[in-house]
Amino acid sequence: MARHQNYIAGQWVSAQSGDYYQSHNPACPSQVVGEFPRSGPTDVDAALASAETARATWNQTQAPQRAAILLRFSQLLLDLKEELARIITLEQGKALCESVGEVTRASAEAAFAAGEAVRLSGQTFPSERPGFTCYTVLQPVGVVVAITPWNFPVVSPVRKIAPALACGNTVVLKPASMTPWSAVYITSLLEKAGLPPGVLNLVIGSGDCGERLLSDARVRGMSFTG
């Protein structure tokens, strides 16, 4: 049985408390599928500080570069879909064929989000005054928090992370405490795809972490499914 970690500032780290909790297989609840950090306020603060620091460089990254990372991530999801699908089924319970479908779908959504990175276009307007140029641009909101549910432990995080990153935001992901293993796996794939340190941060824990994330002034965008 593996012991998993948070991912903060490009490092896999235990919770400050050093505490872990066990996650179970709903088809066989006595089976422990993994141990996960029981994060607290200090860990949330570290994740937010990391996302805030990475913001300045990530939002200056050229859009095609962000797209390329997300396309590599999309391909990794496809390449490793059998392995990830098995993790979904072990921690969430759904039939393996459904889990394979979920990963395939997540890959497609990540690929679409990659394309959106280079479609962040604004509008131009004719001016009522001579000598003026008027237009709009789209800018990232800043640090985005993604709080995701247990029923779709892969597609729901990807549905939030991929477009948020494509738009130039940095992200803190807080997955459901019953299905954190899939989130660990997704995060490792984004790391492999070349996502710079601090751009995505993973904090595993109970609803207390989510509460902390809701009220922090550094968080400029919140996407919640539940």
């Binding site: 088809a27 098995r86 604004g122 641009v137 909101v141 968080v219 965008g221 996407s223």
Partner: protein, 251 residues
């Protein structure tokens, strides 16, 4: 939960995107292919053991087709193979937790107390779920009152209530009678009803002659208590994660 989150985040004027629950109706009226309708409804209702926000979680059917549809739904439900998700023949896994199991058991008990007719299922499949798994039989109720908990509340489990109505007016009224507005399906051979359905049903997503399956590049979201903020998936998601900046240059 969603409203509380919205209040907290709004107080800081941060952007928010909420994807919340649903009580998604499958309306069946003047349907020419009830067999296909039953297949689509059962697939959309019991995928992920019914633990999907877009699961079809109530059937609203015209009285003239209700008996036949109920039989066809039972036939499709009998094909579901419940078991460990890793099993090669399994098509429906367990519920995710004891808490979900308790919720489902409670709704089924309440349905029986409210005199709905249990057609199939309505029981746990293991004597000791806490050790043997949270397996619950796919369940169909008929003659469900549109005012009951089974008909109006999100169960998030493999329980499908069937509500009988007398025509389109009552069907649309019942469809709109919950606090949710995420997804809705209509099964019909009448094109006039299709237009009525698209116009009148309070729902972020509507589907005609198929279940509530979404696609990977098409906007996804809900209205009423089912969601707030930009739709996810597809081009609309950019609104959730960007701010517009307007530029004037005099040169």
């Amino acid at each position: 939960m969603g409203i509380r989150i919205a209040e907290k985040v709004a107080a800081r004027m941060a952007k928010i995107q909420l994807e919340l629950g649903g009580k998604n109706p499958a309306i069946v009226l003047e349907c020419e292919d009830l067999d296909t309708a039953a297949q689509e409804i059962v697939a959309a209702a019991f995928l992920c053991s019914g633990q999907r926000c877009t699961a079809l979680s109530r059937v609203i059917v015209g009285e003239s087709q209700a008996d036949q549809l109920c039989d066809l739904l039972s036939i499709q439900i009998a094909k579901i193979r419940v078991g460990n998700g890793l099993g090669p023949r399994t098509t429906m896994g367990p519920l995710v937790s004891q808490e979900q199991m308790t919720t489902v058991v409670g709704y089924v008990r309440k349905g029986l107390e409210d005199h709905a007719t249990l057609v199939v299922g309505g029981r746990t499949l293991t004597e000791h779920p806490e050790t043997d798994g949270y397996f619950y039989a796919p369940t169909l109720f008929d003659h469900v009152s549109p005012k009951s908990g089974l008909a109006r509340e999100e169960i998030f489990g493999p329980v499908l209530p069937l509500i009988r109505v007398n025509g389109p007016e009552e069907a649309f009224e019942v469809a709109n009678s919950t606090r949710y507005g995420l997804a809705a399906s209509l099964f019909t051979g009448n094109p006039h009803l299709v237009n009525e359905f698209i116009q009148r049903v309070e729902s972020g997503m509507v589907h005609v002659n198929h279940g509530t399956a979404s696609q990977a590049h098409v906007p996804f979201g809900g209205v009423k208590d089912s969601g707030q903020g930009a739709f996810s998936i597809g081009p609309t998601v950019k609104e959730a994660f960007t701010n517009v900046k307007t530029v004037y240059i005099k040169w």
